[in-house]
Symmetry: C3
Subunit: 247 residues, 3 copies
């Protein structure tokens, strides 16, 4: 049995964040919070989130369990709630449904069979550069890049972070010095190229949720994007595979 | 001859309220106000409205008359007005057109032949239950129900009012006790099922116009929905035929 | 070499104003500002704008030059800026690209070859009537006219200005006396008919930019529409050919 009460905005963010990669996902409900880790069907992007029980107003989990969620259904159920409204979630194994209550309105959502849903492991990655950037500024640059190309190159060195996209005739560039970033840790120059469709979706989720976005970057290596909400009790982390530059 | 001046919001509501059922409608202009009663082509929904002359700033009707209106045209004509702007309506039999003036802008709209438009009678119904509910809360539940089904069951008894929709796998429920309603009069349990497309359109019209919505309900019987605006000088009433449950 | 800094809203307006007529345009960058004059492919509408250097925060032009702009690309580049944000424009002949910087984000836009773009001359017109009208009121009437017809007749005389559109069955009219206009100069009655698609686009550009719109009108003759922004340092003028009434 699980029962919890949480701000609509928080649970909506978790669902939206996962839904950019998959239609259905497995969530683990544990005594200290809800966890999810999912990779998209093309194995290009991965999400790993932690929704700690402290992000809830009430949280009660008698027995650790895994539930399979049709994300679109839950999204629709949450749509009637304003972002500050409280949502009550309730799950009883016997019922086999997730009960979502907003005010006096209740929706019982059938759950999916989790036995067919594989566990996802986070690959161990050594990403030498860490950049903490304004989410709004990064998102703006991603949008500009999208208008001329379908991929983008990210570069970091000791002194600066750079985003470059090249179209057939035009170029988009964002160059931020160490002083223009929240923080920059980078010993030697790293450079990787990423598909803009995935990257744009990931950054869009962060936008409006967190002022800062942490980027971990390597050389022709996956990127790690992470941000927090609810005073750190919600942590969302994305991994995105690089595109290999043909030079 | 008829001439009247009214807030755009009021006349827009009347037109929108009728337009969910029909494209063309017959309105009666009398010395104490404008009246309309129309049934949709499938004979599933009916509207009956009263727009009393007190809802107008100016109202002058020399001779009772009936006019046939292309609702879409009138809607378009009213679109340029903000909801608080005044609209002047003028009709002279000889002209055969309705003159709609907003500020210095005038639109003359050709009217339709009313001789072919039948009169509509309100069926006499005994609806034992009367529920007065928050329009916003009812609308929210209707929207949630729409996302999983195309019909909804409404139930009332001495103590509570209930809305239930069942989809293939999911369930939406709204349950309100007497204390959570504006009022509830119901001697014995009644239950009827309704098509959500019509019901949703009707409740959408009421939303934002009136805080309270009055529901009259019977057993496998039509529903009556009614609300007021302009301090009671505008009354809109809908009737909607039930869907028969095959049990 | 040219370099300038300007409010996004100002440069956006210039681009939008030109883009209703053409996809590509030639702009002249001179030491006292930027100038553009373009006719649409059907030779029905013309724009002539002056963007004086005083409308810029910084303006520096070493050598007069002409650049060919893909308007859609520049529009997209400007989209990331809010209307009050500053945009930096930079052009160096050797580079062959226009550099558009918004904050730390830079976009380099390839320019078009201007040698194939003809110069446009303003025809000398004697338009006896001049009307200064509320842009909002004129736009509202144009929108109403569009809902019933694809052309509109404008009439001015000593005492009033009138807009009339006739549909198959309906009529839209706006009649403003001298007192209801900002100003009216008209010795004898003039009347011309114009295509609503062009006229509507032109007035839409002015709306929200300038309270007043100056109309110069003749008899079956082109119309001149003009308005100013930025305290007069931006001037936009349209010419639109009449439709000849077949009477």
């Amino acid at each position: 049995m699980f029962q919890g009460k949480i701000k609509a905005n928080f649970i909506k963010t978790i669902i939206d964040a996962t839904a950019i990669l998959v239609d259905e996902a497995k969530f683990k409900i544990a005594d200290d919070g809800i966890y999810g880790r999912t990779v998209d069907p093309a194995h290009v992007g991965m999400i790993d989130f932690k929704l700690k029980k402290e992000a809830f107003d009430d949280y009660d989990c008698k027995e650790e369990t895994e539930i399979g969620i049709d994300l679109d259904k839950l999204k629709t159920a949450l749509k009637v709630a304003t972002s500050e409204e409280m949502v009550e979630l309730k799950y009883e194994k016997e019922e086999g449904r997730l009960k979502v209550s907003i005010g006096n309105l209740t929706r019982k959502i059938a759950l999916l069979d989790v036995t067919e849903m594989p566990d996802t492991k986070i690959p161990s990655l050594e990403l030498p550069a860490e950049i903490v950037i304004s989410t709004v500024e990064f998102h703006q640059a991603i949008k500009a890049a999208e208008s001329i190309s379908d991929h983008v190159t990210l570069i970091a060195d000791k002194e600066s972070f750079e985003l470059v996209a090249e179209g057939d005739t035009d170029i988009v560039e964002l160059r931020l010095s160490k002083e223009q970033l929240y923080s920059l840790k980078c010993e030697e120059r790293v450079k990787s190229m990423f598909p803009l469709d995935y990257l744009s979706d990931m950054v869009k989720v962060a936008r409006g949720k967190s002022e800062e976005l942490t980027i971990n970057l390597g050389n022709n290596y996956p990127i790690k994007l992470s941000f927090e909400m609810a005073g750190g009790y919600i942590k969302i982390m994305y991994l995105l595979a690089p595109r290999i530059e043909s030079e």
